[in-house]
Subunit: 153 residues, 2 copies
């Protein structure tokens, strides 16, 4: 097991976001690292998979749950290039993810610090540790250039 | 296409909830009716499927999206025996479900009227019509007897 930093994992998540962009999807990527250091990767894919719920976070949580045959991912860390939305924040709590690291904030739908703070809601039965702003510029740039290109077409 | 009432569909959802209970899962069931009247059914299954996200609502939304090859379920109605949680409320918005009908309120984690009101949040880009309390007693009784049995063991 190698010792990777938050930046290393966020770079992996950025590579996944680029795959989403190539597919014509909003470029968001995610990496889930289990408590034993196993890494799972995924990218945003609602349109191409015909699945409204196929955000990068949802896909990687499901992938890790299936691989570990466990519906809880205790002690795991989720890296994602964009601040999670309400749905994904709820999913993170259900999966008992220990720590969430994200890149760019999402002023429109972010549910960690922007629109609401689901992950810090003491009324829910789990609160992950949160780190934000890791490679935020690179993560945000990828999104901005995607939407700029889309408007051109 | 037959003309079924909200009560008819909620009874179908209750039958699904009973399947969940038989599987040892929290008894919640859901029915999604497309705008053309096609019905999809599912039940809560996180433990048995090793998937933290496998709530009845998530499973039935995914099923309907795949079947209709569309990541948006515009004009559809979702019936669910229990008030949706934060994750499922977010999913309902992403899928652009037109109407949500639920049975029992969930004081601990309900995100429609109990803990928060995600489905009425005007800052998000979709607000479904909401009907609550349909067969609420039957939906709630099933949950209460499940938890009573579980405490006994």
């Amino acid at each position: 097991m190698s010792h990777k930093s938050d930046t290393d994992y966020m770079n992996m998540a950025l590579q996944q976001a680029e795959i989403a962009a190539e597919n014509g999807e909003v470029p968001v990527g995610a990496v889930l690292v289990s408590k034993d250091g196993e890494a799972f990767v995924s990218y945003n894919a609602p349109i191409t998979t015909h699945d409204a719920l196929a955000h990068a976070e949802i896909r990687v949580i499901r992938m890790a749950c299936k691989a570990m045959k466990n519906y809880r991912l205790i002690g795991s860390t989720l890296y994602v290039t964009l601040e999670p939305c309400t749905m994904c924040a709820g999913a993170i709590i259900h999966a008992r993810i220990g720590r969430v690291v994200y890149g760019a904030a999402d002023p429109k739908t972010g549910a960690v610090e922007s629109l609401s703070s689901v992950l810090s809601d003491q009324r829910l039965n789990h609160q992950p540790v949160i780190t934000s702003g890791v490679l935020a510029d690179a993560c945000g740039r990828l999104l901005k250039s995607f939407f700029r290109e889309r408007r051109k077409r």
